[in-house]
């Protein structure tokens, strides 16, 4: 469903992602773990076309993310780590607009926008300018933007960052339900417990390389995931 094949990204002389090869199946929740600067966000941005891969390629639903990027984007919902919105659009308007940009009719977009506003607890703020939202509200609005067109694949960069505990639990349930419908989720997170509870498989990135892939049990059969993570991402001289 989502395949990365020898994906590389160079920032000048620095190689952020090194020959990343990965396969995420339909109905699977795959979690990227890794310390800061490991290359998680760069990989996600390459999948979304925000960055151009230095070499290698990625496909989503059999479509090349660079060559067929228009078709890919109708199948993908994306939530960045730190979503920013236009200064002069209200939350409700923005959501309807995003829906329409994905080909929904205005009426359908409005209905779906209302649904997600209620589902994600943004009713009270729906008439405020989206750019004035708090971090958590922006995150929830960004998630609504990613979900409004009912995508097949969800790519989430730190989905629970800035959310209060109740909202974080709600978002976690939402992702589980999404995957239960046979759709794919790729997410990056720093929260090991979230990854443990949510993801079917995990990939640990370190210095741009995928150092471990597998289920939680496969990765840490004896000890905790935290210990395994620290061991894998320790910088040796």
């Amino acid at each position: 469903m989502l395949i990365c094949d020898q994906l590389c990204k160079d920032y000048g002389g620095f190689q952020a992602v090194k020959s990343l090869t990965l396969r995420v199946e339909r109905g699977e929740i795959f979690g990227f773990l890794g310390p800061n600067g490991a290359g998680k966000t760069s990989t996600i941005k390459m999948l979304m076309g925000l960055l151009v891969p230095s070499s290698g390629h990625a496909t989503i639903d059999g479509l090349d993310t660079q060559r067929d990027h228009v078709a890919v984007k109708s199948r993908v919902g994306y939530l960045p780590d730190n979503p920013h919105f236009l200064d002069y659009l209200r939350g409700r308007e923005l959501l309807s607009f995003v829906g329409e940009m994905h080909g929904l009719s205005p009426a359908e977009a409005r209905v779906r926008a209302q649904h997600w506003i209620q589902d994600l607890g943004l009713e009270d703020a729906q008439e405020d300018f989206a750019n004035n939202y708090s971090t958590g509200m922006k995150k929830r609005l960004g998630l609504a933007c990613a979900l409004i067109h009912n995508p097949k694949v969800l790519i989430l960069d730190e989905p629970t960052n800035g959310l209060d505990p109740r909202s974080a639990v709600h978002v976690r349930d939402l992702i589980l339900n999404f995957a239960a419908e046979g759709r794919t989720v790729l997410l990056s997170t720093h929260l090991l417990d979230l990854a443990e509870r949510l993801c079917h498989r995990l990939g640990i990135l370190h210095h741009g390389q995928l150092v471990a892939v597998g289920t939680c049990k496969e990765l840490a059969p004896d000890g905790s995931l935290e210990e395994k993570f620290l061991a894998l991402t320790a910088d040796r001289p």
Partner: protein, 596 residues
């Protein structure tokens, strides 16, 4: 006494706690307003004063240039005496009506112009202040009022007085005008200052109560976001009225004055006319009588507003939720056609139009400035179709120049959203460019329409050159868009994202050259320029589509930088060839003249 409810909160009644003392409350409000001013000053200080000074100097130079063009003496641009003479004449014309000794002696036209200007300023203050960004905070103030254990109508009265006494921008404007007028009328400086202060405060007081009453009335009936939208629209009306007022000072004839003269009796009866006459009349008794009338109007209006506020805030008012239900019903009945038409537009176009109407910076600086250019130059020989077309081209180009370079920065930090939609960036740019081109066409059409209304067209067959203008706008729109993309810095903030000065003003000069070709008698020359420009625009657009996928990827930049260098090279090649062509043409003319 029944307690009224404002936004679902009890705001008055026997259960209210001990009332705040009036003076203390007034002090709190005053400090609040002072804090706002200090915050604004701090905000201003963070901006570059040098840039502001340079901008002001540029504006003055532009106005001087405009005066020279209006005087049809562009060739004498370098002649200092000619410049001085033109400016002196302009100043004389502007201040001429003020030299008369009696208000009644002022020729109708001049008096009407002054009245129109002052009335426009007063009205614009009414709308502008209400639509000002500070008004956005007023919702919180109303909420704060509602939480106070005082009767709400008394708070309303105090807020009115606060607004009346707090210095407003327009007070300075009108005050300076009255002060100068008083001095020219032979008043002692202190007397002129005292009279000015009294009159300006009176006018300000006159505005405060209606403004607050309107705000309260709407806030009691509409949800906050709708009131905010309306405030934005009213801000626009205020800006337009201000432009009208400025125009009144800068013109001495034209359709606007004729229209105004037809309603002279109405203008004479306005509060501003009373204030003006109080300054202009030497007969002290008459001046005092007018001033007393003005004060009478103020008192009546304030009492009426207080009475209404007391009535409105003491009766049970429908809550927010109840209102919302009613408004949705009304919306269903009245907005069907508008919604249908609105929904026919592409979502991007709809969003762009929404953003354009909400971004007041964009409205005033990008939408407003060309409007001034379209309306103000009344001294040009508008009956000459070539002049008219040149003005139409210039106005449209000015709009395009200022708007299209914003085509990406307008997205701000939400540019990532464009990468999540199933559309290419070039499709997005094309659609936004179409909106901006349509608006530029409207400006050009406005100039042509105004010119026709004023003087008709001498040689209507020359309007075929409209095709030339439309073609040029399309070319320049494409050119500006491409250059905006090439020079876009995704990590820069605000204005840094726009192209540099050399490119910005270079393109404006190129546009002016294109306008110059409108006057050329030889259609072949125009055709050559059109084809050359289209080729350049097409080439840049094509290269831009190659660059777009890596717009946010600075590290995919080496080919882009190389490309940018190539674009500059092609651009300079184009300019060089053009200059070469002009040189050859000049030599050819010189040869013909020599041969003759």
């Amino acid at each position: 006494m029944t307690g009224a409810r404002l936004f679902g909160k009890k705001i008055s009644g026997p259960d209210c706690g001990p009332a705040l003392k009036g003076a203390r409350l007034f002090g709190i409000l005053w400090r609040l307003q002072t804090r706002r001013l200090i915050n604004r000053l701090q905000d201003l200080r963070t901006r570059s004063l040098t840039l502001t000074a340079l901008g002001s100097a540029l504006l003055i130079l532009s106005l001087m240039g405009l005066l020279l063009i209006m005087d049809r003496s562009v060739q004498r641009l370098l002649d200092a005496n000619a410049v001085r003479e033109v400016i002196q004449r302009f100043v004389d014309v502007t201040w001429d009506p003020l030299r008369f000794t009696r208000y009644e002696d002022v020729p109708d036209q001049g008096a009407r112009l002054m009245l129109l200007f002052l009335n426009s300023t007063l009205l614009s203050a009414l709308f502008l202040k209400w639509g000002h960004w500070q008004s956005l905070q007023r919702d919180e103030e109303w909420e704060w009022f509602a939480e106070q254990p005082c009767p709400a109508w008394a708070l309303f009265v105090q807020r009115c007085w606060m607004e009346s006494l707090w210095p407003q921008g327009f007070s300075l404007f009108i005050g300076a005008f009255f002060m100068l007028l008083g001095l020219q009328r032979g008043w002692a400086p202190l007397s002129a200052l005292g009279m000015t202060l009294v009159l300006v405060l009176t006018l300000q007081t006159l505005l405060a109560a209606p403004r607050l009453t309107l705000d309260l009335w709407l806030r009691l009936r509409w949800p906050a976001h709708r009131v905010r939208t309306l405030r934005g629209a009213f801000g626009l009306i205020g800006a337009a009225l201000l432009v009208l007022g400025l125009q009144a000072l800068s013109i001495d004839q034209g359709w606007a004055v004729i229209a105004v003269m037809r309603m002279s009796s109405i203008l004479d009866a306005t509060p501003v006319a009373l204030a003006l006459s109080a300054v202009m009349l030497r007969d002290e008794a008459a001046a005092l009588r007018h001033f007393a009338s003005l004060l009478g109007i103020v008192v009546v209006i304030h009492l009426a507003c207080y009475g209404w506020a007391a009535w409105a805030l003491r009766r049970p008012t429908p809550g927010h939720a109840a209102w919302l239900g009613r408004s949705q019903d009304q919306k269903k009945q009245t907005l069907g056609l508008r919604t249908w038409l609105w929904n026919r537009l592409h979502p991007l176009t709809r969003r762009d139009l929404t953003l354009l109407t909400r971004d007041r910076h964009f409205i005033l600086q990008i939408l407003g400035a060309p409007l001034v250019f379209a309306i103000v130059p009344q001294g040009l020989p508008m009956q000459d179709t070539a002049w008219l077309l040149a003005m139409a081209w210039g106005t449209g180009l000015l709009f395009l120049w200022s708007a299209v370079f914003y085509i990406l920065p307008m997205e701000g930090r939400s540019l990532w959203l464009l990468f999540t939609w199933p559309q290419t960036l070039s499709q997005f740019l094309r659609r936004r460019l179409m909106v901006l081109l349509a608006l530029a066409g409207c400006y050009a059409g406005l100039v042509l329409g105004l010119g026709f209304l004023r003087a008709g067209w001498e040689r209507p067959w020359e309007l075929w050159r409209l095709l030339y203008i439309s073609w040029g706008m399309l070319d320049f729109g494409v050119l500006f868009t491409s250059l905006a993309v090439f020079t876009y810095e995704p990590e820069a903030q605000g204005r840094e994202q726009r192209p540099g000065l050399w490119l910005n003003y270079g393109m404006l000069i190129l546009g002016a050259f294109y306008g110059w070709f409108l006057f050329r008698p030889d259609a072949r020359e125009s055709l050559l320029v059109m084809v050359g420009l289209s080729a350049l625009a097409g080439f840049l657009w094509w290269r831009m589509t190659l660059v777009l996928p890596a717009l946010l990827d600075r590290h995919a930049a080496p080919p882009v930088r190389k490309l940018r260098g190539q674009e500059k090279l092609h651009f300079f090649k184009f300019i060089t060839r053009w200059i070469g062509f002009a040189c050859v043409k000049c030599c050819w003319f010189a040869w013909i003249i020599w041969a003759i």
